[in-house]
Symmetry: none
Subunit: 194 residues, 4 copies
DNA sequence: CATGAATGAGAGTTCATTCAT
DNA sequence: GATGAATGAACTCTCATTCAT
């Protein structure tokens, strides 16, 4: 597959991504993607054999971008507590844009496909986030900004709350106020009180 | 609809429930239910017009039962902390039986169908649980068993953690140990320390 | 499947038979049969799941009819040699109608599907024919009409010649004269020459 | 078409031959041949426009080789009966290797394509074989080795038996014993008895 | 009420064939 | 000559939904 092909492959993935954001995972058909890409039926099959394959590649693409984006938004000289707050703010932003998101597609995908740990992007993302938070809290504690007895467990707890907010946003719906309250509650438990 | 009809309706709902536990919501076809019920295609349409309709009725049925079950397991003379622990234990049991559960079906249903608040069973269930927990904590605080500054917010937080665990169980998978850790963390924050 | 269904099933088989005679086995698609039967796509699938299934049932149907037909054409008081001649004449008739025949379809089917002996209709038909011929020759020898040293082997040989003629008819083409010559050659080897 | 082209053409034919032996004629697609040859789709079309064209050229190639091979295996000083036996033995070998053979492909091809006599390789091959056998028998009769009343008709008969065995091998399957019996039966009718 | 045959839309998939490079 | 991306037709198969009985 030459250079041009790679470009087209990329184009398909980006277009498909929009489709998955629109319709979730399970409802997306090869035809949906063909139509969105404005290519021929057979043309799509040159690059991918199923929506599953496409979605997995969309996820990979997605992950790389996400990593990059977050890293680039961290200002220099930020304290641990700053970064943590930044992280939570980022999560909040994600939580509230319920439409332009792959969240539902991702959930639907993993409902259907039980993936081994090593290839489990969502799990890896979750665990990665836990580690980062743990480290941030530890740094904050070291610098006296934060107070915490069990950094790892607290990090885990934060992530589960975020997961809970995320799924709730897609099922019952949540308001910005609700998110604020939760994040505040989390932070308030961490800030060294006097 | 006569007596017999009601019985058959009930039979269909119970059988369909099994199907939804098996296959989630989106993958279930009218044919699946017809086959499971061993009735005729047309027969099913006499009672329900779509899987959506069936699922909604399954949910209603489900909710009534759940309420009854929980109420019946509370022992007399139980303290607030006892009941709270019991509640969490019940949640844990639910979390860990990943297969015989409507969880995935429910999520898939609400991904697809944005339901107004009033009819939103999941939301109602969530909010009901928050209220119960809030009351329990309040009782616990009153009796000196527990310590808590903002009972309502704490109750909300607990429920979001549980939601986070629930969705994680269905996507990345969780172990009993993980659940234990989280629940312990929650309780430890509540128990009046010294 | 009720009475009516059986009738329709039969109708489909008879129509499909025509299609197989027209196009052989491999080229026939479910759509061809759907079109020939003037039923809906899905309608056909109510009765059969593949052309293979249909063809096998056509063959079964065919065989029953063939057996009946031959039996009914044997006149009373016929001598063994008469019946043998009749049999060969019957074969000749089959050989020469190259179009209105399932021959090609049958060959194509068995090229593709290696069937176990017990279900192998063609083999059974072949072996059945060998036995009948053997018996006829034996009777003929007993009555002094025919002469033959090894009835079984002669019967086999006759059947292989007929098979040879049959396939030749469908590949290179044969004339009536060629068939006559072969059958005459066979019979001349059998008639007791004073 | 230059020298190189001829070589490539030859390469394609030889590779395609393997494919036809593997899959018969009808099931072979241009893609199959492209894949087997490891050339580009367009590349194949530079040399051939259809599987039909390819197969016809494979057949031509095949025939030349076959002729050469048989001629080269005849020992000097062989008697007519010897050569005849050798010929039959050769046929037997062909009959029994059911897989590495173009037999099915050839049959399928001629089922589909009614070719005029002059270009009909199979017919020519059949008739050529008849002539050779006729001559051999005539020679054998002349030298007293064999006995036969109508050499031509006997030769034809032999060839039809072989055709019968050939098609039977591909449909119902035959054992070596069956072939031996038939060939023995043929020869025994020829050997001058007493 | 209940049945199940029938329809037709639509998804998946594969290839022959073309054509710009 | 050679490549391989692209197209679109054709097939298989599955269901939601209807309707005569």
């Amino acid at each position: 597959m030459g250079d041009k092909s790679l470009q087209k492959r990329q184009y398909i993935l980006e277009t498909a991504r929009e489709v998955f954001m629109e319709k979730g995972y399970k409802d997306v058909t090869m035809k949906d993607i063909v139509d969105a890409c404005e290519i021929s039926r057979g043309g799509l099959y040159l690059y991918f054999n199923s929506t599953k394959e496409i979605f997995q590649d969309v996820l990979k693409m997605e992950q790389q971008e996400t990593d990059d984006v977050f890293a680039s938004t961290i200002p220099k000289n930020a304290t641990a507590a700053d970064i943590l707050a930044l992280f939570l703010k980022e999560q909040k932003k994600e939580l509230l844009k319920s439409k332009k998101t792959l969240t539902i597609a991702i959930y639907e995908f993993y409902f259907q496909n039980k993936v081994p740990k090593k290839e489990h992007l969502i799990r890896q993302q979750f665990e990665g986030a836990v580690k980062i938070i743990e480290q941030l809290i530890a740094d904050g504690v070291a610098s006296g900004e934060l107070y915490c007895e069990d950094c790892l467990q607290t990090a885990r707890n934060i992530m589960f709350v975020i997961e809970g907010l995320k799924i709730s946003a897609q099922t019952m719906g949540i308001t910005e106020e609700m998110v604020n309250r939760e994040l505040l509650y989390i932070m308030s438990g961490l800030v060294a009180d006097e």
